[in-house]
Structure formats: C-alpha cells, structure tokens
C-alpha cells in the first residue's frame, strides 16, 4: 500500500504547490513570449536538429540517447544529447544564454527552474499543449513548472535520499538488523549508537557522510525538518532558523564531526561526494539519492554487499525534494521540434523506460501506482519510494521558490566553518545563515 500512500500524499500537496507557484509569480518584467502565429505542431514530420544539454550518469545518458533515437524515428528531427559534468552545467548554460548560443533544451533541477524563468529565457509551452496536458503530472511538480501563469517546462522525474550502508561493515560491528519500515526507522540517538559501533569495529573507516555538497547543500534541511524546524515561516518571507529545533539540528550535525562519526573531509563547499568514496569502503554508511544506485552498483560490483534503509527521524521524518525537469529555451532556433521532444520525453512509455533504466522515480499520475521493473537493484527501490512520501510540504514549497539557489548558496557559504570547527558557536552559524538567506529572499 506504499504507492497508494504516496499518491495520496503527493496529490494533497497539490494545493500547497499551487500556492507556491502563485507566490513564485512575483511580477516578472519579462513575460515569456509565445511562438508566433504558427499552429501547434503535435503530429507530423519535424526537421532540423535540436540539442539537449544535460548531465547524467552512464545509464541516464544511455536512456536519453535511446529516447532521442526513438524520437528521430517517429518524428524525423535529429536530437543531439550533449553531456556536461554536473557541477559545471549551470555556469555553462548561463554563459551560453548570455552569448545567445543557448541549447534548445536543457535539464534543470526543480530548485533552479524559477531562477531561469524569472530572467525570461524559457519558452512558453502553451501553444503546444492542450489543457489536459498538465493534469497528467503530480500537481505539486506541475505547479513548480509554471511561471507567470504559463508552463515553461515539463517535469521529468523525482528523486529522494535514503541511507545506503555497507553490509560487511555492519556485520563486523555486530549490527544484525536495520529498519525495514518507515515507522521503525532509527531515532537520532539510535543512529548515533549504530555509528559508534561501526567506528569501533572498523578502524580507519569513517562511519557516515551526508550528501549535502554544493548544489545539494539543501539536503541538510532533511536534518532540520527531522528536528521539527523549518527554514522559513508560512509566508515564505522570514527566516526561522533562530529556534530551538534549528539549533538542535545544527549542533547534532556538528557533533557527528566532533565525535568522529562523520567523515571529516566531507563538507559542504568542496566537491568531495560521499558516493564516490563509499565504493572504496572508507565510509560505512552514506545519505544518498536513488539516482546514484546504478553508478554505485557499477563501482562496487561484487566487492561487497550493500543495502538501503530509511533516514533517521527525530520529531518527524523528512527527506529532500530531488529530481529534474526539462525546459526549452526561448532563443532556440528550432523551438517546435524542441518542445515536441520535451513532450515526447514525458509520455508514459518513455518516462517509465527512463525511470526503470536509471532508478529514479516517475512523476506521472498513471505511473504512481505502477510496479516498475527497475534495471538495477530493484529490491532497494521500494525504500526510496516509501521515503519519498515523507517530503515535508513546507520543504517542497521552500525548494521551489525563485530565490532558492541563493538559499542553497547560504548553506554552502556558512556551514563549513561551523561543522569543521568544534569551537564554532551555533549562534554564529544561525546568524550567518539568517543574514544570507534574508539577502537571497530580497533579490
């Protein structure tokens, strides 16, 4: 019944998501212009070439290429998949937009979409879709694709984080069972106990690492919401980090470093990703996203057994809104073909294919209850699917604000000095974060 719960939960956030979209529509000076007087091109032959600029694991790139080949066979236009490293894609796309050499389509996280839309660089899809198109998707995520009342992209998939652990290390530490349901997930105290046992039994290995590096810094908010804290108040205008819950979350995270339970060199600002270290067996357990399952499987192969369990909870369970959309640029020379390809990517058949090949979660209503045949480690996916039901509404709303990239950057700029310095006070980091996020909200 997990998928039923998830569906109900996500449908109920639809109202919240719609409100978020309205809040996000802060009178932009540039309204996306619609394509000229040409009628919508939903069937029939297309010509020319379009480029989709994206990052991706090997499996994601292969899936994109296969869907691109299918599109060419069905509609005629060529689709070129351009692959860039993940931590460079934002600056590269920005520079190309500035030089008027933007790709026709690019992949973008939900947290970044409004930033681009606010600058008027995304194409309005209204002319190419009918009124029932948006109803195919989870309401919260379709609402996140609206700007100024116009749809400016298609939601492609969603992701979330859970705990990935090394079974061999667990066995050595004498830990025989891990939580097998959301209700039985570890409390923070239990997690610290587990990490302590791992540390004693596996010398020279770090027990744990979070996945909150750089563009993923906001994944620290999982910990914040687990402690019962929030980032902003319901009006989304004021920062609420000067609370007992937020300070508890901060001190608890810092204590993991000072007690030697968290890998000391894995922080927020450097591109040291725990999922790259986990296969070397130098970290026993990591918080990781479902989209990493294929690459972890490829890197680990038969070296050791690994599993997935639920994130810990304190006052509540919480996880992050991950996932990406695909958008079309306003300056695309072949907009018709580009928009048609975007629509083609999110048909039921193609979304199911993509999700099964890459172990990410679909965002279509007709796939919410489907039993997907995930290619890699299908036994691990149900944990991610159930964990995804714990995305707090307030966090989804915060994550899709237009100023969210600035909020994310506030974490990048302020967390390291606190986490890596045992004598840093929690008030200093609360002050730093509050100032930076307030500044970001005003931009």
């Amino acid at each position: 019944m997990s998928q039923l719960d998830r569906r109900t939960f996500l449908l109920s956030t639809g109202l919240i998501g719609a409100t978020a979209a309205l809040a996000a529509c802060s009178g932009g000076s540039e309204t996306p212009t619609s394509t000229g007087g040409a009628p919508a091109v939903s069937t029939g032959k297309l010509s020319g070439t379009v480029t989709l600029t994206t990052w991706g694991s090997d499996q994601e790139v292969a899936a994109f290429k296969k869907i691109a080949a299918d599109f060419t066979a069905a509609r005629g236009a060529q689709v070129k998949i351009e692959v860039l490293p993940y931590d460079q894609i934002r600056t590269v796309v920005d520079r190309r937009l500035q030089a008027n050499q933007a790709p026709d389509l690019f992949r973008v996280s939900y947290t970044d979409v409004t930033g681009y839309a606010a600058n008027g660089v995304l194409a309005d899809l209204s002319d190419h879709i009918d009124s029932s198109f948006g109803q195919q998707f989870f309401p919260g995520l379709w609402a996140a694709m609206q700007y100024d009342g116009a749809p400016i992209g298609v939601p492609h998939h969603t992701d979330t984080s859970a705990l990935v652990y090394n079974k061999a290390h667990f066995a050595k530490a004498g830990i025989t069972s891990v939580p097998d349901s959301l209700e039985s997930a570890w409390t923070w105290e239990e997690l610290v106990g587990v990490l302590g046992k791992l540390k004693t039994a596996n010398p020279g290995v770090s027990p744990f690492a979070f996945n909150y590096q750089l563009f993923g810094a906001y994944r620290w908010f999982n910990t914040l919401f687990q402690a019962g804290g929030t980032v902003l108040d319901p009006s989304m205008k004021n920062v609420t980090l000067d609370t007992e819950q937020a300070k508890k979350a901060l001190t608890w995270t810092q204590s993991l470093y000072t007690q030697g339970l968290h890998a000391p060199s894995v922080l927020v600002k450097r591109p040291t990703y725990p999922d790259e270290i986990f296969p070397t067996q130098k970290i026993s357990m990591i918080q990781a996203g479902d989209f990493l399952v294929p690459s972890l499987d490829g890197a680990i192969a038969k070296k050791f057994e690994w599993g997935v369990t639920y994130l810990p909870h304190d006052k509540a369970s919480a996880t992050d809104l991950g996932g990406n959309a695909v958008v079309v640029t306003e300056g695309s020379p072949n907009k018709d073909a580009a928009i048609e390809f975007a629509k083609f990517l999110v048909t039921k058949e193609n979304m199911q294919y993509f999700c099964e090949k890459t172990t990410v979660l679909p965002v279509r209503n007709d796939l919410a209850d489907a039993k997907l045949a995930f290619d890699v480690k299908p036994d691990l996916m149900p944990v991610f699917q159930k964990q995804a039901t714990t995305m707090p509404e307030a966090l989804v709303k915060t994550s899709t604000l237009p100023s969210f990239p600035g909020i994310n950057q506030a974490l990048v700029d302020n967390m390291d000095q606190f986490l890596s310095n045992p004598s840093a006070t929690v008030d200093s980091v609360v002050g730093g974060l509050t100032t930076a996020i307030q500044k970001a909200l005003q931009v």
């Binding site: 520079r95 770090s206 000391p264 600002k269 450097r270 040291t272 967390m415 390291d416 606190f418 310095n421």
Partner: protein, 314 residues
C-alpha cells in the same frame, strides 16, 4: 619581462638653422608611420581583448545584471555593498596573507634552485627543465593532480604520513591546512620561473667581481651575502613585484583544490568575484570587485615601472 639594459636615444639628424624642423619632421613622420603600422596588429588585439573588456567591466560595475536578461543602472551601489560585505574583507585578508607567505617562499626557493643549478653538474639541463615544467602545466591540471594527492581519505600524502607514524592531516576540512595546501601547490608551480630569472641574473655577474672578492676573503656564505645578493637586488625587486601581482590574481588552483572552502578560509578575491558573478548571478557586483583588484594591481605595476625606469635612466 624587463631586461637590464640602458637605452640610448637615436642620434639627432644634422641640424641646419632654419631647416631644422622640416628635415626632422619628414624623417620622423615616416618613422612614426612605420612604427604605427608595425604596432597596429598588437594594438588591435589589445583593444579588442583588453581595453574594451576593461571599459565594459567598469560599466558593468555600475549595473545590476544577472548575466542574461535585463541590466539595471544602480550607480555606485555595488561599491557601497562591497564595503559592507564581510566576506569581501575576509577574501582581501586571505589574499594578503597568501601573498605575504607565497612571495618570500617563492623567492627563496627560486634563488636556491638557481644557485644550485648555476654550477656545472651532469644533466644540469635536464634538472633545469624539470624545475621549469610545473610553470608550463596548466593551473587546473596541477590542481586536479594535487586534489587526488591531498585527498584526506584516499590521497597518497596522508597514506605516507600514516605509514611513518604521523597523524593524517585534514587537508580540506581544516582551514589552516587547506591554505597550506594551496601555498604548497602555488610554490611548486612558481619555482621554475624564479629559477630561470635568477639564473639569467647570476650569469650576468662578471667573474672578475668574484675573483676580486676571493682576494679579499669573501668565500662561501660571505660571498653570497656581500656580493651575489646585492647584485641580484634589481632582479629580486622585479620578482617580488611580479609575484605580488600574480598572487593577487590566484584563481585556478584555488577553484580546483578547495573552491574557496572550508567556509571562507581559502576564499581569495578573484575566486570570490567568480563565485558572485557566475554562481550567484551578480555580475555587476563581481565587476566591481574586479575593478578594485585592478586598481590594487595597478598601484604595484606603476611602482615597478617607475623603479625600473629610474634605474634605467640613472
């Protein structure tokens, strides 16, 4: 690179009273035309790639601009924001600290390498080349190599330290050690250049000076202090100013090795400007930081130019 050469003016053409100006102008005019023609390709490149972007940077620093979309004129607001920006001052202090540490270390290492490789030894040319290779490797490539070497968990440096019983160093989690790692990589990159310049200068010291000094008892360390070092003073001054200018512009090593972290302990001015301009999408603000860096470096450049000019004219 400047060379220690005194310039002499071209001899004046023969003067006849009354006709002086016309004779001079005809020859001079032709010379000027030829000169302009010869310099025009370089001038064109400089204008396109330096003067125009410089002017545009000044212009951008007065705007609010996200990189694409609309630009809004806001006058000197960016500069006012910089004065109140704590991170900017941290970045400035870091840059000063970095410069204060890297420049003397670079000079000492470069001079030592030059002194060692000035005397004849087998494969001397090979050693000189090896010392110089880091200078020509791209900063990004060096950064990536050292990123792996300095990795606190799987890096070979920490593995070697733990094998000989020393504690593993948290190269990237600890602010001080992160700065040390950047200084180490920059020094490694810069030794070759200092060495080459000092070698040229050392070879410019006449042997007679040394021979005269030996007669007076100046050998070994005394010879270095009383003869070599004073004669190298112009070269040292050039290298100090050149290194200061280079240190103010450090970017690629920092970006690859630490991204300015942890926190702001290795955030330097250029890297801060890059982050503000491209990650925060505040290009006007970044341009303002660029203008300030430009002015600071300009001061040092003028200093060096005036010193070498006065030396030449002396």
């Amino acid at each position: 690179m400047t060379t220690v050469v005194t310039r002499r003016r071209a001899p004046e053409p023969p003067v006849r009273p009354g006709r002086r100006r016309r004779v001079a102008s005809a020859a001079l005019k032709a010379e000027r035309r030829a000169g302009l023609l010869m310099a025009s390709p370089a001038l064109l490149v400089f204008t396109l790639f330096m003067f125009i972007p410089l002017a545009l940077t000044f212009w951008y620093s007065l705007q609010r601009y996200s990189g694409f979309g609309r630009m809004r004129f806001i006058g000197l607001d960016n500069y006012a924001a910089i004065i109140n920006d704590a991170t900017f001052w941290t970045a400035s202090l870091n840059t000063l600290l970095y410069t204060a540490l890297t420049v003397p270390i670079g000079i000492v290492c470069g001079l030592s390498a030059a002194l060692l490789l000035n005397r004849w030894m087998p494969a001397r040319g090979l050693f000189r080349a090896l010392f110089y290779v880091p200078v020509v490797i791209s900063g990004v490539a060096s950064g990536i190599i050292f990123l792996r070497l300095f990795d606190p968990i799987v890096g070979i440096l920490n593995q070697m330290l733990t094998t000989i019983g020393l504690p593993a160093i948290d190269w990237q989690g600890n602010g001080t050690w992160a700065l040390v790692s950047i200084i180490l990589v920059s020094t490694w990159q810069g030794i070759g250049f200092g060495m080459v310049v000092y070698l040229a200068a050392l070879q410019g010291i006449p042997r007679e000076v040394y021979e005269a000094g030996t007669v007076d008892g100046a050998v070994g360390w005394k010879r270095f202090i009383h003869i070599t070092w004073p004669l190298l003073r112009p070269t040292t001054f050039f290298l100090v100013v050149y290194s200061i200018i280079g240190s103010f512009q450090v970017f690629d090593v920092v970006y690859v090795l630490t991204r300015g972290g942890p926190g702001t302990s290795t955030t330097f001015l250029v890297q801060y400007a890059y982050d503000q301009g491209f990650n925060q999408r505040r290009q006007g603000y970044a341009a303002a930081i660029g203008v300030i860096i430009y002015l600071v470096v300009l001061v040092f450049t003028v200093l060096q130019w005036r010193f070498s000019k006065s030396r030449d004219d002396a």
